[in-house]
Amino acid sequence: MKEYLNTGSKDTRSGFGEALNELGKQNPNVVALCADLIGSLKMEAFVKNFPDRFFQVGIAEANMMGIAAGLTIGGKIPFTGTFANFSTGRVYDQIRQSIAYSNKNVKICASHAGITLGEDGATHQMLEDIGLMKMLPNITVVNTCDFNQTKAATIAISKHQGPVYLRFGRPKVPNFTSADQSFIIGQAVMLNEGHDVSVFATGHLVWNALEAAKILEEQGISVEVINIHTIKPLDRLSILQSVKKTGCVVSAEEHMRNGGLGDSIAQLLAIEMPTPMEMVAVDDHFGESGKPEELMKKFHLEPDDIVNAVKKVISRRK
């Protein structure tokens, strides 16, 4: 199996912050807005270096989304920064009407997604955001797996015309993708070729999928691991090609099962290529306070959970 090296754990949000600052230098039309979470979103460098292009809106996310939509009228490329909860659920109608339906070039950048923000508990642990965003026409939905990929994705979405939801997180996680990767929206990344099962993972669960693949390889099971960083538009071709070869599927994500990556893949397969599938995701349950690693264990999002799902789905394959 292909080896992936953790070059030093970092938080994905810092990848966003670094890239935003670079964008500030590269593109004078890039502007940023924040709702009282500059430090949490790692936006300090942009704020310091480009004060005229930064808008602190205070704790007023609805207004932030509207102002961002308005800033596009005149050619600006606004990046909004707040937690995933306040980037989606709190402002759903603002995004729906002023950004998605109006097809505005706003980049909604959301940190602290999923349960790994930890001790703050379920009020802040957003597990429905991918579902909320992917249901809206016109919006591209991206969920990155590590620091380097978040940085590359932030740069890439600035060049994409149209609204984007970029999802990342709080904790330090293994940084294993290439620093000079080319990030192509909508193009899945093959991490390990295998022939017994396809594991499609997104966000923090990509590393766990690689860990699971290592364990399974030692047991003689060959796992294809594909990073689906773009949930919408879904890379249908890569998914179908892999599933055609392996004949069974596991999806893995730090998100609610309803509305997540898994159900996008299930929908595709049900229509195009009915295939046994297991989903590693949070099953219709709010999160709770705890350390991120405790929560990952409790909500069955660890490498061992992916291993178990793989074994189960292989046993279901005819």
């Binding site: 808008f55 609805a62 207004n63 509207g66 102002i67 939509a69 308005g70 009228i73 009407q97 097809n103």
Partner: protein, 281 residues
């Protein structure tokens, strides 16, 4: 520059269009469209005067208008058509399948003149402020106008926007409130009283003007004063008193006409009160 009687003729035709558009599909919101016909007419023909032949969403180098209370679509479409953004014949497609004239304004169908969708209330002022900030960044010295309803001010996002604009000294915007005192469930004073709106706006550090939105002479005058008050480090607000249903006696000041279409007999009665000045579409 158009004379007051010329502006009055346009607004009379706009009111006829509103009645005919809404009657044709038995759906729409006549009340505030009639109430704001004079304001829209003056805004386009006398104040903003954008170039309708070269519409771009970015609108660099011209004044911009945002309609937050999107249910006034019939009035806005009519004024834009008469102003030259599209043929008045297209008004006959209002709210019909495949039309660019959606029930509430939208950009999806690419009707020239519209820059953002509206209808779900409370969002337009934030968008207008964003556009005003973009103008500032672009060193574009044109203004941004926004119309909201008074009942619409019950939406909390407005107050976020009001606070922000004053704090950030967004002084290239003129926000107009259609202060007709009516909303779907009844008079605003009964549904949820706004209290002393002028005092509230002043407390939010906006410069506040008041005008009679059904007196074209006054609209021209106060809008000019409001324009002169921009770029003084404070956003500008006009509380525009209008009469819901203005121009049609049986609709006047009646909240029941917020979103009810006239039937055949009512449409006939209404049109008899509104002079056809430039030909019905």
């Amino acid at each position: 520059m158009l004379s007051i009687p010329e502006l009055q003729k346009i607004s009379s035709q706009v009111r006829r269009d509103v009645i005919r558009m809404i009657h044709a599909v038995a759906s729409g919101h006549p009340g505030a469209s009639l109430g704001c016909a004079d304001f829209f007419t003056v805004l386009y023909f006398d104040i903003m005067k954008p170039d309708p032949s070269h519409f771009s969403v970015d609108g660099i180098g011209e004044d911009l208008f945002f309609l937050s209370n999107g249910h006034l679509s019939a009035c806005w479409y009519s004024v834009m058509a008469h102003y030259g953004y599209f043929d008045t014949k297209e008004l006959g497609t209002f709210r019909k399948l495949g039309s660019r004239l959606q029930g509430h304004p939208a950009t999806e169908e690419r009707l020239p003149g519209i820059r953002v969708a509206s209808g779900s209330l409370g969002q337009g002022l934030s968008v207008a402020i964003g556009a005003a900030l973009a103008k500032r960044l672009n060193k574009d010295d044109h203004l941004v106008y926004c119309l909201t309803g008074d009942g619409e001010l019950e939406e909390g996002q407005n107050w976020e926007a009001l606070m922000f604009a004053a704090a950030r000294k967004v002084d290239n915007i003129i926000a107009v409130v259609d202060y007709n005192g009516q909303q779907i469930d009844g008079p605003v004073d009964k549904v949820l009283p706004l209290g002393n709106l002028r005092a509230k706006m002043e407390a939010f550090d906006w410069q506040v003007f008041e005008m009679d939105g059904n007196d074209i002479h006054e609209i021209v005058k106060i809008m000019s004063s409001a324009k002169a008050a921009t770029r003084k480090e404070k956003p500008v607000m006009i509380l525009m008193k209008t009469h819901m249903g203005a121009g049609v006696d049986f609709m006047l000041d009646k909240h029941e006409w917020h979103g009810s279409p006239p039937n055949d007999e009512q449409a006939k009665l209404a049109l008899a009160q509104l002079e056809e000045t430039s030909g019905d579409f």
